[in-house]
């Protein structure tokens, strides 16, 4: 099975078959080939749900992002809203998943051999 068949060539090397010339060809494999199709309304619903879940569970990074924006009256107001949102998600316990996982990961990152 694994052995490569070898035998002495009975013809001189010049007479051995030569590979055909390589020609330009382009028939690329597409990663999404054969993937199941979804309808736009399902995709829109899933993106909306994803955004909502990320906002509820990820209020802390949202706060970090807002704090990194240039300071002006609009971002000041936005910062206030995000702070209120963050307090609310903390109050219902949604923010714990983020901080808990972050703490666990930092602990593992800090381990040494």
């Amino acid at each position: 099975m694994n052995a490569i068949p070898t035998r002495r060539l009975s013809v001189p090397p010049d007479a051995a078959p030569t590979p055909p010339p390589v020609r330009p060809r382009y028939n690329p494999v597409e990663v999404i080939e054969g993937a199941a199709p979804s309808r736009l309304r399902h995709v829109a619903l899933s993106l909306g749900t994803a955004t909502l879940v990320a906002l509820v569970l990820g209020a802390h990074p949202l706060g970090d992002w807002v704090n990194g924006l240039p300071i002006n009256p609009v971002t000041d107001r936005l910062s206030g809203w995000v702070q209120t949102w963050q307090d609310w998600t903390d109050a219902i316990g949604a923010g714990r998943l983020y901080t808990g996982l972050q703490g666990l990961f930092r602990w593992f990152q800090g381990l040494r051999l």
């Binding site: 051995a16 060809r25 999404i32 990320a54 990820g58 990152q109 051999l113």
Partner: protein
């Protein structure tokens, strides 16, 4: 604007909503996606928008000039000139200072009073990629793969489409332009596959590539003299996994984003570290670039025609230029030369094997021989990454010299970095239909629950990845090329 940022997330949600709202108005949709792509690119530095726009306009005019020529010789001349202009602009931005350095060094060595100045330019992000797209358009037009020149608006979108603009995959004009002309089908969005690609890409970039860089690779490559052989070996493996995760993450996310907007991109990575030969490696690594180099450089040079010597010469030239494309540094030249040299050796060995059995191609290795070949290929590729990653040849030399320090105990590796290296390596041997299998499992959910369930998983995954992320996100490695 980097993919794994909230800025980009907001940008994409707006683009997604508007692009599908304009689905019934093809011209409006193309114009909107082009404008969004220019906003995306201008986010880095708006001044380079003129370069992008100028390159597109030039290729548009050159395309018309090529098809207007009446004789094959004149068409060939026109396409050659147009490609030369594209390459000239690329060379100016990427290699002007490198050339000055080389000329000055040579002049000093020869004792000549020559001193060229330096421009100290920042290479525009993605210049290689939009130049390659321009060349693909011109050559496809010349070869007849594209039947007629694209409209200016279609060409603007082809060259600037934001998912692939700055780091690929390199999408051929003949593959993408027809898609722009099609009306997108809102009932045929490959969303589940797209989400899997985007989530996987985010994890590979934000967690794997970033931590391998910050916790292992950067420190060891910055000062290799401080480390023993085991640390250097782990840093080499670490960089092999880092660059794979970094680059494949970008293209996976790009493919996923394009799919959500109704476009199809070619595959760019196919578990490259499971390759049993360097030839196979280049069929699995940065597939869109290697096939681009094959079709637009290697074959015009003569390819495998004209005997063994010319074949080997063409392989070497292609890989040397492929190496130099990565940047104006001798380390990339050495990297390309090593790959070219090994491809030549492989070709000669395979030719010998083929002649021995009277065939034109040697049979593939199987069983334990293939296992050995995979290990050997992986280590050769890792060896070449040392040159690729080192800032200078001198650092690469010190890095290689460090492999003699076997008595020094390892200090750089941590359980996290070891886990990331082992996990990434193991992922190379997962079944090739892994995405389809996951997708099948997901799609067993009732249709009404599918959208919200997918969304909840995507939202949760984004938060979990963000929780594990280091402070800030490093740019993708291939942005500099």
């Amino acid at each position: 604007m980097l993919f794994p940022t909230l800025n980009f997330g907001l940008f994409f949600l707006i683009v997604f909503a508007a692009a599908w709202a304009l689905a019934r108005f093809p011209q409006g949709r193309v114009a909107f996606l082009s404008a969004a792509s220019y906003v995306f690119y201008g986010w880095w530095d708006w001044r380079y928008l003129f370069l992008l726009g100028g390159s597109t306009l030039f290729n548009y005019l050159a395309g018309h000039a090529i098809v207007r020529q009446e004789t094959p010789a004149r068409r060939k001349l026109a396409v050659s000139l147009a490609v030369a202009v594209n390459l000239g602009v690329l060379a100016f931005f990427k290699y002007a200072d490198f050339t000055s350095h080389a000329v000055n060094d040579t002049a000093t060595f020869l004792g000549l009073p020559v001193r060229l100045g330096f421009l100290d330019m920042v290479v525009p992000v993605g210049i290689s990629f939009f130049t390659f797209h321009g060349i693909s358009y011109l050559v496809d037009l010349y070869r007849g793969t594209l039947r007629r020149p694209a409209s200016l608006m279609h060409l603007v979108l082809y060259i600037s489409f934001f998912p692939q603009l700055v780091a690929g995959p390199i999408v051929r004009a003949s593959h993408f332009l027809p898609q722009i002309g099609e009306r997108p089908d809102p009932d045929d969005i490959r969303a589940t596959r797209a989400y899997l690609l985007i989530m996987g890409g985010l994890f590979k970039k934000v967690v794997v590539a970033n931590y391998l860089a910050t916790d292992l690779v950067d420190a060891v490559f910055m000062d290799p003299d401080r480390y023993g052989a085991l640390d250097l070996l782990l840093a080499t493996y670490g960089y092999a996994m880092q660059i794979y995760c970094d680059f494949s993450a970008y293209t996976d996310i790009a493919i996923g984003l394009a799919a959500l907007l109704g476009f199809r991109f070619p595959q760019n990575f196919d578990q490259p570290y499971r390759s049993g030969s360097l030839r196979e490696f280049w069929r699995r690594w940065h597939i869109s670039l290697s096939s681009w180099l094959r079709d637009y450089l290697y074959i015009p040079l003569g390819g495998n025609r004209g005997g063994t010597w010319k074949h080997c010469r063409n392989l070497m030239i292609t890989m040397l230029l492929g190496g130099l494309w990565h940047g104006a540094n001798w380390t990339f030249v050495i990297w390309g030369a090593l790959h070219g040299g090994m491809l030549v050796v492989e070709h000669l060995v395979n030719r010998l094997r083929a002649i021995t059995i009277g065939e034109w191609e040697a049979p593939p290795l199987l069983g334990w021989r293939r296992g050995l070949a995979i290990v050997a290929t992986f280590h050769f590729v890792c060896f070449t990454w040392i040159f690729f990653r080192s800032p200078t040849l001198e650092v690469a030399g010190r890095f290689l010299a460090g492999f003699g320090r076997w008595q020094v105990l390892p200090t750089a590796a941590t359980p996290l970095t070891l886990l990331l290296i082992a996990g990434t390596l193991a992922s190379q041997f997962l079944p090739t239909d892994r995405l389809a299998r996951i997708e099948d499992g997901v799609r067993r959910l009732p249709a009404a629950l599918l959208g919200p369930a997918m969304g909840a998983v995507v939202g949760l995954a984004v938060v979990l990845i963000q929780a594990c992320a280091p402070e800030g996100v490093a740019p993708f490695i291939y942005f500099q090329f």
